[in-house]
Amino acid sequence: MLMRSFAGLLAALVAAGPAAAGATGSSRMEGPARRVVSLNLCTDEMVLRLLPPERVAAVTWLSRDPSRSTVADLAAAVPVVYGNAEEVLGVDPDLIVAGLYTARSTVAVLRRLGHPVHDVGIPTTEAEVEAQIRELAALLGVAESGERLVAEIEARFSALPIPAPGPRPRALVLDPNGFTVGRGSIVDAMINRAGLDNAGAALAVAGHGAVPLEVAILTGADILIVDADRDRPPALATALLQHPALRRLGRRITVAEVPSRLWTCAGPGLADAAAILAAAALAHQAATPVAGEGRP
């Protein structure tokens, strides 16, 4: 503990705080931040995985919900905030990590008050995920933890089963409200990583986009990827998945249930999501003995 803070101080003296380069208003900081507040579910996940609990001043309340977060157990050990600027000021952070698209008004207030804020974007590829983790780890002065996390993610990816030869099965994401995922998203990257073709990409959907059910069915996808969180409160959004037309597709389509928390954020969960998809791909190929026979 003492050693680490000494090392941190030394690093700050020698390199004039290179770790704080990404943050604004770094005048308040001397060395790596000691009280970090995270204002976004995904930055929560990275901060909690990278830092010891005593350096995390607060994360968002969302991280404690096991249906949304992959780090609910870690989040239980640290305080939570609901994203109000007042709460954040109350825990007196020396670094705020926020998502590029969330809690913007809170972030603006905190910036105006001179607090250093580091924004984290949304990664769309495996490489961006790793770069993002390394960047944040360097900023927090825990580069070695960052490398460990990246290595863990890579190890889980390399443990994925090798896709069977032959044509790649086609998969379509059907999210609540009939949304699907096209090119240019981490979900698309994971679908490809698992040895599948993303049928949503052919629908000219960029990022997320709504597709009518008839379009979804007529894509003739082999695998339907749905959100697996069944213990959520009832929502009209998920009622679509009970439609008889989907039930009648029956055995010609394999349903892969991926909890959305696995691939919402940059973290080891991504590889778990890819593993579920890869297993579904193998199951589908096993159920279709001769390639091409299953479809007219």
Binding site: P212, E214, I217, L218, P233, P234, A245
Partner: protein, 341 residues
């Protein structure tokens, strides 16, 4: 307001019947167009062949499970709204009455919301429409109980208004208490009305209540005609007005409750269609009923085809489109009333 002319029964009735026939043909035509139109190119003939042969091809699934129910529900809901609008305007002798005037729409919406967000939907797949139907029927009982068997039209309207605002408040309360943070947004969208991605299950669910309610409403035609002479005159002609109100209230609950339960609240059709048809049938509310229902079906099918042809995705809500078309008509109606009145 209306002048009672000597009754040229036969020509007028024949004209109304011919009009109904044309409107029925138009409904049929639009049903076919509605099935033919969609978001993805569909080989209808292959779909039809596969469907008839019982083969579960993707095309036949889309045709039978998605396009067909959407078209059928468009016709049924439009018919329900047009018919009830005409009946309510006849019963209340007020050109601004609409199908929801007795509180049935608001009650159906509340029933649906309650059934869904209470978690009942996890146990019963069709909880939402079933809840809507139940809400409408309970509301009817309430309106009738409050207004009383002997009460007049005014009491009925006031009971309907009171019930509408109570159900609106209860819906908001249910949404406040829902564990789903998106419930309010979801239900606001749902209430704007849509026929997207409904299923044949919905059709089977509402077919019975709509048929029964339609029969009840159509059976009141002679009494509605007599009512144009005034309540006292109608009673002296031997029509039992309490019975007429009961039939219409129950009929409206079945028909409109079903419509709201499967499609949300689609406004203006029930209000505007009777005014469109009335000049063609003569000012006899009984004769207006069937053509008005059929014209409602034509209009709603047309609006539903329109939302799919417009390049707006996700598609516009039906209630939005019908209101955008209906509101200018209403202004015109008011303007015309001002000139004649």
């Amino acid at each position: 307001m209306s002048i009672v002319r000597p009754r040229p029964i036969v020509p007028g009735d024949r004209r109304a019947r011919r009009l109904s026939l044309w409107l029925a043909l138009a409904t049929l035509l639009l049903l076919i167009v509605s099935i033919g139109i969609g978001y993805a190119p569909l080989d209808i003939f292959k779909a039809l062949q596969d469907g008839l042969a019982g083969r579960d091809s993707l095309e036949s699934i889309v045709l039978v499970e998605l396009r067909l129910p959407r078209a059928l529900l468009g016709a049924l809901v439009g018919f329900a709204l047009g018919l009830t609008g005409a009946a309510m305007q006849g019963l209340l002798r007020n050109p601004l009455a609409d199908p929801g005037v007795l509180g049935v729409s608001a009650a159906a919406a509340f029933g649906a919301v309650l059934a869904f967000y209470s978690g009942l939907s996890l146990l019963v797949p069709l909880a939402l429409p079933l809840g809507g139907l139940a809400g409408a029927l309970v509301a009817t009982g309430l309106v009738y109980g409050i207004a009383g068997r002997g009460a007049g039209t005014m009491a009925l309207i006031l009971a309907g208004v009171a019930l509408s605002s109570l159900c609106g408040a209860l819906t908001a309360l249910a949404l406040n208490l829902s564990p789903n943070p998106y419930a309010a947004i979801e239900i606001i969208y749902w209430l704007m009305g849509s026929l997207a991605d409904r299923s044949l299950d919905h059709v089977w669910l509402v077919l019975g209540p709509i048929a029964l309610g339609t029969a009840l409403i159509l059976s009141t035609a002679p009494a509605l005609d007599a009512l144009t002479l005034g309540e006292d005159s109608a009673a002296s002609l031997g029509f039992d007005l309490a019975r007429l109100r009961l039939k219409l209230v129950v009929g409206a609950a079945l028909v409109v409750g079903s419509a709201v339960a499967v499609s949300g609240a689609i406004g203006f059709i029930g209000l505007v269609v009777p005014h469109l048809v009335r000049p063609l049938t003569g000012h006899r509310p009984g004769r207006l009923l069937l053509p008005s229902g059929l014209a409602g079906a034509v209009l709603l099918l047309g609006a539903d085809i329109l939302v799919r042809l417009l390049p707006v995705r996700p598609e516009l809500k039906l209630g939005v489109v019908t209101a955008l078309i209906g509101a200018p008509f209403l202004f015109w109606l008011i303007w015309r009333l001002r000139r004649t009145g």
